[in-house]
């Protein structure tokens, strides 16, 4: 089959959507399919088909789009700069996709609600459209609006309503939407009125043997003698809750000092988090490694892995930590509780509750046999649950079902 993997976001990129696209591209190509990758260019000026170099310069069409929409009158929603940015960019994506041509694809597989909606409007009617929903644009944008009251965007604002509209129309535009867990499906169907019959749920998979090969000790980093390693691998952004982990580590230090913490990853909050660590007297206990190519090897040396996020879907870092053999502690935010069975393959604590997080870290440091048992159970479970083969098998089934729906005339316009 000829398959188009498409996103509104940047490709290539350090984020999880790009990693997922690249991973399933390789898996699909191994199965004999031909795969194209469509997305924004890293400099944001073009859309491109990454694998063959075709480009669409946004400036070639933007003046006409801006002029027409401004001249038409009555489009007051475009007065809002947030909506204007997303919508004009999305219209560019539609025109880019039409320009590149969608007629030759057997499957179009989008990776966000923007591209799902856009490509549904320019694809041939009988071409199946599958939309993977990796996160909620609406939830993230509304959190941003709440955190920045100076923007003046409240529940009655067009931008607020736009979040709902794009989530609803994006997910419902596909023949089948796919989420990685029940939490995301529930969010779409309960909060954004997406039809549950359109949503399939199956977890992400990773190439386990490739990951294990990368976990071999080919790193200059050595585990400190006599210390346990508490690791966290994540972008250093607000939603990852790294500040909460640091606060809990300050409590832990008051009890015991037989540990160090490795923070693997980079991001906009790094300077703030480094300052927080210094102010709490943790400069000798916490190592900010930044982005590391040898992250799997660092995880393999870790004893405990903590993900203290306040909102996340199904982070690959937790999957990797389980496979690496660390005992995993996760918050109960988003889809995280579906990633471990509390007390058997990991520990779940209430999001933002640093007292509980400190207590769990202390318990695992105190009880070596229990920690090893948790880690071993998680490693065995993870090897089957997060298998790439399992995910690709489910994806094959979704492609086939979407093909049947599309050949029967599709779901109908919404």
């Amino acid at each position: 089959m000829r398959i188009l993997l498409a996103t509104y976001w940047l490709i290539p990129h350090v984020g999880g959507v790009w990693a997922f696209m690249d991973q399933i591209r390789k898996a699909l190509e191994r199965r004999g399919h031909q795969v194209d990758l469509l997305g924004h260019s890293p400099d944001y000026t073009r859309y491109h088909i990454l694998n063959d170099g075709r480009e669409f310069v946004k400036a070639d069409v933007m003046p006409m789009i801006e002029s027409k929409l401004s001249a038409s009158g009555g489009m007051h929603y475009l007065d809002d700069p947030v909506i204007r940015q997303y919508e004009t960019d999305r219209y560019c994506l539609e025109l880019a996709a039409a320009y590149f041509g969608l007629g030759g694809y057997d499957i179009i597989h989008t990776q966000d609600v923007f591209s799902a909606r856009s490509l549904s409007r320019v694809k041939p009617k009988h071409t199946p459209l599958v939309a993977h929903i990796h996160g909620s644009v609406a939830v993230e944008l509304r959190a941003h609006f709440r955190d920045h009251p100076e923007l003046g965007i409240g529940e009655q604002s067009p931008a607020w309503r736009y979040c709902h509209a794009i989530e609803y129309y994006g997910a419902n535009s596909a023949d089948i939407a796919v989420t990685a867990n029940q939490w995301m499906k529930g969010l779409l169907t309960r909060d954004f009125d997406v039809n549950p019959s359109r949503v399939e749920v199956f977890p992400y998979g990773i190439e386990i043997e490739t990951f294990r090969a990368r976990s071999l000790p080919m790193t200059p980093v050595c585990k400190p003698v006599g210390k346990k390693v508490i690791a966290c691998s994540a972008r250093l952004t607000f939603v990852k809750g790294i500040d909460l982990l640091i606060a809990a580590l300050a409590q832990l230090k008051a009890i015991r000092q037989d540990w160090v913490c490795w923070l693997i990853g980079d991001g906009e909050l790094r300077a703030d988090l480094e300052r927080q660590a210094r102010e709490l007297g943790l400069q000798d206990e916490i190592v900010f490694w930044g982005f590391r190519q040898d992250a799997p090897a660092l995880l393999a040396m870790s004893d405990i892995f903590v993900h203290a996020c306040i909102l996340d879907n199904q982070p690959i870092s937790v999957i990797e930590a389980q496979l690496a053999g660390a005992a995993v502690i996760v918050s109960d935010a988003g889809g995280l509780p579906e990633m471990v069975e509390h007390g058997r393959t990991g520990i779940v604590f209430p999001s933002r509750n640093t007292d509980m997080l400190r207590a769990h870290m202390n318990y695992l440091l105190e009880h070596e046999a229990y920690r090893l048992q948790l880690a071993d159970s998680a490693r065995q479970w993870a090897a089957s649950h997060w298998s790439m083969e399992a995910m690709m098998g489910r994806l094959d089934g979704v492609y086939a079902t979407a093909g049947r729906i599309a050949s029967g005339g599709g779901r109908g316009e919404i």
Partner: protein
């Protein structure tokens, strides 16, 4: 802008837009627009009105 830019009447390509509106003449990459016009599905219009008008099934836009 690229080679191939032309200044064209602002009402050109109005078939793609709804409601139809004309503006001043604009610099466009004519070849790009021509190819787009050939390849968009019949009836394709900008903007995407259901999203643009924030039409929602529940009507509240929670």
């Amino acid at each position: 802008m690229n080679i191939g830019d032309l200044y064209v009447p602002g009402d050109l390509f109005s078939d793609l837009f709804e409601p139809v509106a004309s503006g001043p003449s604009l610099p466009v990459n004519y070849a790009v627009w021509q190819k787009i016009c050939q390849q968009v599905p019949d009836g394709y219009k900008l903007p995407d009105l259901p999203v643009a008008t924030l039409t929602l099934p529940s009507g509240d836009g929670r």
